[in-house]
Symmetry: C2
Subunit: 207 residues, 2 copies
């Protein structure tokens, strides 16, 4: 028995995320968010409790969204695990998409992991941002490690290798491609990096 809100919450958070990714946290003003989302200042403060609230909720949504990619791409039977890892790596080095349906390559500007970017900019003085970014890394790392174990069970990766170490290394490559690929490098170069990393994975010494 009251006026319903006239905006879609997720849509607003997506627009804000795009803005934050493009301009950074301190580089975007509330007016920028207002313009990007179409919401007035009052609505922003009522619904999200200001700039910082928008960021936190946008990052929360990002986190929820981020886990789905690796989980869906990497989960499955042991047989195809290595190939799934290959496909995931090739995609992951090209950035994290804003939405599941829009490819990240379209605008290199906002391709880098949202959580990583925010953590680098303001994480030093914001433990909550820090923690959220850490969670984002964990979800990817865990999924990759699980896929590595599957590949090991299938005999595609050296069983003596530590799957957690490999997962950390691959996560590092993926996050590193965010910054290496951010400017001055073509998508082909990123693909090449992913292929190199994949090719170097330790194969079992057959017989």
């Amino acid at each position: 028995m009251a006026r319903p809100r006239s905006f879609d919450r997720d849509h607003v958070l997506h627009a804000a995320e795009r803005q934050f990714r493009a301009s950074g946290y301190n580089g975007t003003s509330v007016d920028d968010i207002s313009a990007a989302t179409g919401l007035g200042r009052g609505s922003l403060y009522a619904a999200f409790d200001g700039k910082r609230g928008v960021l936190m909720q946008a990052m929360g949504g990002y986190f929820a969204r981020l886990g789905e990619g690796p989980r869906k791409m990497l989960a499955g039977p042991d047989e195809g695990a290595l190939e799934r890892l290959h496909a995931y790596l090739l995609r992951a080095v090209h950035g994290v998409p804003l939405a599941p349906d829009v490819p990240p390559a379209s605008d290199r500007t906002g391709a880098a992991c949202f959580a990583a970017k925010m953590a680098l900019e303001i994480g030093a003085s914001d433990p909550e941002v820090q923690r959220l970014a850490s969670d984002c890394f964990s979800v990817v790392r865990t999924a990759v490690a699980e896929c590595v174990r599957a590949a090991q069970r299938n005999g595609d990766i050296d069983p003596d290798a530590d799957p957690d170490d490999l997962a950390y290394l691959l996560l590092t490559v993926i996050r590193g491609s965010d910054v290496v690929g951010a400017y001055g490098h073509s998508p082909d170069r990123l693909t090449s990096i992913a292929e190199s990393a994949f090719a170097l994975l330790p194969r079992p010494r057959h017989h």
Copy 2:
């Protein structure tokens, strides 16, 4: 026949760099720089032409300093090339030091590559920052590639591997460790990542 300046230019730029690394570009005000360097606003504008000028000159100094590390650590005869690469990797994943004599591990906050951090924050709207960061990557990448070639000549790395591809991959790992290691991971974890990356380098198949 005039009053000499009472501050050491490099010292000021180092202090400013530390501040920028800690708070980001948009997160530090001119007053912050003034407090960190001990210089008044007037001197800052006269000597460095404002906030942006300080950043550019600090990045310039950083670039000049950055190249020395890999060049000195990686250059040398072919025999020890692989071991030099090993040592360099182990050091590089722990960040880029503010000064050559101070270890980067002391404050994880400012350990990440200065150029990369600035490029991620404001590179999208600042081509010059973008280019400077790109140069920083190139100098590391070139030195690594040269060292890989040396190791190949010495028979320590598979001669069929593309040294440029490997250098790109290692650069990506190094930059990735900036963001992965920024928060929530111990130095031991970074060391472990470096060791994993080194262990995976393609060795020549000896007969």
